[in-house]
C-alpha cells in the first residue's frame, strides 16, 4: 500500500515536472496565435500571492468543465525562475493543479509587464482573455470569483 502511494506520488511529480516549464512572452504569443478559435484564460499568479492562490480553484474548475470546449486555462507564475523546482513544482504537486502552469521567463520585469498590457501596474492576480479569431484581448487587473469568470466568458461568446 505504501509502495503504491510512493509510486503514485513519484508519477505525479514526473507529470508535474513535465507540466511546469519556463515560458517567454514570445512563446506565449506563438501559442495563442496557433489556437485560432480557442479562448485562452491566462492567469498571472505566484506562490507568494495569497489572493492568487485563493482564486486558483475557480480557474481549475473552469478548465475542467470546459475540457470539451475551445477554452484553455494557462497559469503563468511570476515566481523567480530559480524557484521553479523548489517552490512552483512542489506547489503544483501538492495542490494537484491540472491546468497548464508556466513560470515567466523574462529578464526585464518592466518590459514584460508593459508588453502584457500597457495599463497593468504589475499587481497580481491579473487575468488576460485572448481569442485570436474573435480579435479579443481583454486584460483584468483583479481577482475573479467563479461566477465572474463565467460571466466574462459569456460576454466573449
Amino acid at each position: 500500500m505504501k509502495y503504491l502511494f510512493t509510486l503514485s506520488l513519484f508519477f505525479t511529480f514526473i507529470v508535474a515536472n513535465a507540466q511546469v516549464k519556463l515560458l517567454t512572452l514570445n512563446d506565449l504569443d506563438k501559442r495563442l496565435a496557433k489556437g485560432k478559435d480557442t479562448t485562452y484564460i491566462i492567469n498571472f499568479w505566484a506562490t507568494w500571492c495569497g489572493p492568487c492562490i485563493e482564486e486558483l480553484p475557480h480557474f481549475e474548475k473552469i478548465n475542467k468543465e470546459a475540457a470539451k470546449q475551445p477554452i484553455k486555462v494557462i497559469l503563468v507564475s511570476l515566481d523567480f525562475k530559480s524557484k521553479l523546482k523548489t517552490a512552483v513544482i512542489p506547489f503544483v504537486v501538492k495542490n494537484k493543479i491540472n491546468s497548464e502552469v508556466y513560470v515567466i521567463n523574462e529578464p526585464d520585469q518592466q518590459l514584460f509587464i508593459e508588453k502584457v498590457d500597457k495599463n497593468w501596474s504589475g499587481a497580481i492576480p491579473a487575468t488576460l482573455f485572448v481569442n485570436t479569431n474573435k480579435k479579443v484581448r481583454q486584460f483584468y487587473e483583479k481577482e475573479f470569483s467563479y461566477n465572474e469568470l463565467i460571466e466574462t466568458l459569456e460576454k466573449l461568446k
Binding site: 507568494w48 500571492c49 489572493p51 523567480f80 529578464p107 526585464d108 520585469q109 504589475g122 499587481a123 470569483s145
Partner: protein
Amino acid sequence: MRSVLFACFIMLGIMAKAQNGYQVGDVAADFNLKNVDGKNVSLASYEKAKGYIVVFTCNTCPVAKIYQDRVEALNKTYAVKGYPVIAINTNDPLASPGDSFVKMQERAKEKNFSYAYLEDPNHVYTKKYGAMKTPHVFVLQKTAKGNEVAYIGAIDNDQEDTNASKITFVQNAINSLLKGEKPAVTSTKAVGCSIKWKKEATSK
C-alpha cells in the same frame, strides 16, 4: 447644473489622488514612526540629508527579501552622499505574523541593517505615499518646497539579480539628483507582493 458637475469632477480628482498617493513632484509628508531600536524616526531626524530613499518593504515577501542586500548597498553608497535609506514595514501582524515588530527586530539584527527599519502599524503613511507593494521606493529630494518626490517605483529591472546590464533605476535617479539634474526615468512599476493590509472578513 454645470457647477454641480464641475464640483463632482473636482471631488473625483481629489479622491482619486488621495487614493493613489504621491506623484512625482508632490511634497511628501514627514512621519514619526518607531524604529526597531525602539526610538522614533522622522525625515527631519536626518538634518544633513539632501534627500531620502524611502523603501516600503517587509520581512516576508520573497521579492522584498531578494532585494534586501541591494537596499543595504544603497544605504552604504548613498547615506554618506546625503541620501539615507529609510525602510518602512506596514504589514498587519494578523494578516502577516512574520511581519510583527518583534520579527522586524530579529531581521534587522540578523542582517545587520545599517538603516532605520520603521513600522507603520495603521497604514497611515503607506496610504499617504501610495505604496501598494513591497518593495516600493520613493526617492525624495530636499528642495525649497520641502521633501519632493523625485522617483517612484522599482529598485531595478532585474529581480533575480542575474543581469549584468540591469537598469538601476534608484541609483540612476540619485546620481542625477546629486548632479543637480532631474532623473531621466522618474517612475517605474513597483513589482512585488501586495501590502498586507488589516483585513476584514467578507462573504466571498
